[in-house]
């Protein structure tokens, strides 16, 4: 079953070569994705982390296909979003966020299998790591970090962070399955949302698609930066705003998964994020 009461965070310390999974029961008000990522940036700020995060809808509903990444770049906290299969692999690894701390003494590829982490020497053929069909690979193609050999990260922000930390790539495999109390209702809701592709702010093309999105739109190659905080805490694609900004649809999704968020929780999120950003700025990130 999906545990909706805690945020499960996989901490990786590159310096110490250790990893640890922590369950936070006091971070649910940050929802997930960017909201959670910014709060984790505040908690782990001394370790200058890179934070990958998914939201409550990732893996469960169509068009909630992106991964949120929060990094400190030139003393400025940035939130960026990349497509591909990464968000589903993080979800099916059973974790909500990955916090990568410290700097590796030598170049490494981070190899995550559910909650287990290995630091592999670089270069290593990434196709030798993880499980085919259940893994996502984020690696350098010349100077750019690319997920699944296609989906890019915007504005070279993540590239700089990976280079600073001596990280040559990241492979994640997720093999966990979830069940819900009411699978029949879930199936109906899934199909209802899938049938709404016509109201997205993008159209289908012949490009590779993000996982759980049928479109393969022209924009899928390029990541996103900044934008609607609730959408990016869920973490839905920015082009799906017309679907997930509908509060009725959103609560139907959250409720079927077992979340007990209220309207006030969602309304309070921008204030919480603002306060977190103020704290980060006050302490010089």
């Amino acid at each position: 079953m999906l545990n909706t009461k805690v945020q499960k965070v996989l901490e990786i310390d590159l310096q110490q070569k250790t990893s640890n999974t922590k369950s936070y029961d006091n971070l649910n008000k940050y929802i997930g994705g960017t909201g959670l990522g910014l709060k984790l940036m505040e908690i782990y700020k001394d370790a200058n982390p890179i934070i990958f995060g998914v939201g409550p809808l990732n893996g469960f509903f169509p068009f909630a296909s992106k991964t949120s990444i929060v990094v400190n770049s030139r003393n400025r906290v940035e939130d960026i979003y990349i497509g591909g299969s990464l968000s589903l692999r993080i979800r099916f690894a059973g974790i909500n966020a990955i916090v990568i701390c410290g700097k590796s003494p030598t170049a490494k590829i981070i190899n995550i299998f559910n909650e287990d982490v290995k630091l592999e020497k670089s270069p290593t053929e990434t196709k030798e790591l993880g499980l085919p069909g259940k893994r996502s690979v984020l690696e350098f193609n010349e100077l750019n970090l690319v997920a699944d050999r296609y989906f890019e990260s915007p504005e070279e922000i993540l590239e700089k962070s990976f280079i600073e930390k001596n990280v040559a790539g990241l492979v994640i495999t997720g093999t966990k399955n979830f069940t819900l109390k009411n699978m029949a209702e879930y199936q109906k809701l899934y199909e209802y949302i899938l049938n709404k592709s016509g109201i997205l702010n993008t159209v289908a093309s012949n490009k590779p698609a993000c996982s759980n999105c049928p479109l393969g739109c022209e924009q899928s190659k390029t990541g996103e930066i900044g934008g609607n905080i609730l959408l990016h805490s869920l973490v839905a694609c920015g082009y799906a705003e017309n679907i997930y900004s509908d509060i009725g649809t959103l609560f139907s999704c959250l409720n079927i998964l077992g979340y007990d968020y209220t309207h006030e929780d969602l309304q309070n999120l921008p204030n919480l994020v603002e306060k977190t950003l103020q704290n980060l700025n006050r302490t010089g990130n």
Binding site: L88, D148, T179, Y186, L194, P208, A209
Partner: protein, 80 residues
């Protein structure tokens, strides 16, 4: 009578994995483990976009294959 599903046009696959998730929902689960369809990325270098292959477990015959065919946005599957 059982129906067979084949990935007759796997070259059209865009890697969205909707078919994988549909087979899993039909089996009462959400995830990728033990899925009756696997989408494998071709990791050839020097290609400007990935290509995909579609692995189908024969046990898929017991599922509603029409639904699996119909959820594919790229018309990859045929049923016989």
């Amino acid at each position: 009578m059982t129906k067979n599903i084949q990935a007759s046009r796997s070259q059209n696959c865009n890697g969205c994995e909707l078919c994988v998730l549909e087979t899993q929902r039909q089996a009462g689960k959400i995830g990728l483990e033990e899925a009756l369809i696997r989408i494998l990325k071709d990791f050839r270098m020097n290609s400007n976009k990935p290509t995909f292959s579609v692995d189908i477990d024969p046990r898929i015959e017991s599922q509603n294959v029409e639904k699996i065919k119909n959820i594919c946005p790229k018309d990859v599957f045929d049923i016989s």
